[in-house]
């Protein structure tokens, strides 16, 4: 239902939630899980999204990516059920499950919890290959820089967990403010002839009021988005410079799918991030499932 017109000549649809991204699940039809020796799972309960991954003998078999609700145990269970859907498996068939992420203590069916920093390094090593040395994980509510070795073992990390600047939550706020679907923000932010000065504050609340001011000055949406994306990329680049950047460089987490941020990071740091056919948002859950496999094999050896 179209109810009103906005100042930019576009229609705003009443009740549309621009921040809401599409949830999805996936399964590899070529793998028969019944033949697998080890069936392990990783559940990454983030502050904004939850991913559940199932691996057969260390190979990606199925996963689901959903929104984390207010009830973390429920989100974990729902994501897991969705990943298991149409696989012929039930939760009881999983040999070992590791919980990770912000809500990792709230995964009721996990045998063990592991910090998401270790899991993201391990997962990035899996999806981007062993040449990855610096991983930038841009999550829903915090942002981390992780250095790792060729085995995906953490060698240093830096986490900005004080503030939501430079994170998915900030992007959601801007999607809503500008009525731009969150998946299209990055591309739209690149539709400017010239980069505008970045918003002076990366604090989401301050940046939001600054953006409102810019809109009143008559800036088009793309220009406001460019100013915000540039500020966010700059904030993250500072974090990377602080820990020191060693190539190869890779980005994980939801914001790695935002080309506006990736392009500006490339420009500011003069690096080429690795690309992959895997979904970079499930790196943490993949890492957890790989740790689950290692722990399961160790447990079997001990028995």
């Amino acid at each position: 239902m179209i109810t009103d017109r906005m100042g930019w000549g576009e229609k705003r649809v009443e009740g549309k939630e621009y921040w809401r991204w599409t949830e999805y699940n996936w399964r590899n039809p070529d793998i028969d899980p019944k033949e697998a020796d080890t069936l392990t799972a990783g559940v990454d309960v983030g502050s904004v999204s939850t991913q559940a991954v199932i691996m057969t003998d260390g190979k990606l078999f199925a996963y689901a990516n959903m929104r984390t609700g207010f009830d973390s145990p429920d989100s974990a269970r729902k994501a897991m059920d969705w990943a298991l859907e149409n696989t012929g498996l039930t939760l009881d068939d999983i040999h070992y499950c590791v919980g990770t992420g912000y809500g990792r203590v709230n995964v009721p069916f996990a045998q063990r919890t592991i910090t998401e920093i270790a899991c993201h390094a391990r997962g990035a090593n899996y999806i981007y290959g062993p040449t990855v040395r610096t991983v930038l994980d841009m999550g829903g509510q915090d942002c981390k820089v992780i250095r790792c070795d060729e085995k995906g073992q953490v060698t240093a990390f830096l986490m900005n967990d004080k503030c939501a600047a430079g994170t998915g939550r900030g992007m959601e706020v801007f999607a809503d403010l500008l009525s731009v679907p969150i998946e299209e923000m990055g591309a739209m932010s690149l539709e400017v002839d010239e980069e505008p000065p970045m918003v002076s504050s990366t604090c989401v609340v301050f940046a939001k009021s600054e953006a409102v001011g810019l809109l009143r000055l008559g800036w088009p949406k793309a220009k406001v988005l460019a100013a915000y994306h540039a500020a966010m990329a700059h904030q993250v680049a500072n974090l990377l410079r602080r820990l020191g950047m060693e190539e190869d460089f890779a980005i994980t987490g939801g914001i790695s799918k935002n080309i506006g941020i990736v392009a500006r990071l490339k420009r500011e740091l003069d690096v080429e991030p690795l690309t992959t056919d895997y979904d970079p948002q499930i790196a943490g859950a993949i890492g957890a499932a790989l740790f689950a496999r290692a722990l399961l094999l160790r447990q079997r050896r001990a028995e």
């Binding site: 592991i114 910090t115 270790a118 070795d149 953490v154 060698t155 830096l158 986490m159 900005n160 602080r242």
Partner: protein, 97 residues
């Protein structure tokens, strides 16, 4: 294989990090008792889950407030050596400010 763990945050007023070099940290726990605020702890190596060693780390409840929690040991003038840094014989602990 060790790594360097930075606990803390960057905010509008600067960088506030305690860094622990786990290559050097031997898990002796001297820093835990030396810290007057009790913000350090010995835990299973969180970032290397397949290892069984214990390592010093900043307690999670202090990680977002260390600028203030470390304040008592950091007067503006006449700053004595930090108890945690002094207690750590291998020299694994450093502060960013």
């Amino acid at each position: 294989m060790g790594y360097i763990a930075h606990y803390g945050y960057t905010d509008g007023s600067g960088d506030w990090y305690i860094s622990i070099d786990t290559e050097l940290c031997n898990g002796c726990g001297e820093c835990v008792t030396a810290c007057p605020v009790g913000l350090l702890q010995l835990v299973e190596d969180e970032y290397n889950p397949l290892s069984d060693e214990l390592k010093a780390s900043v307690k999670p409840e202090h990680r977002k407030t260390i600028k203030y929690d470390c304040g008592p040991c950091k007067p503006v003038t006449d700053r004595p050596p930090l108890p945690c840094v002094e207690a750590c014989k291998p020299g694994a602990i450093s502060h960013s400010w």
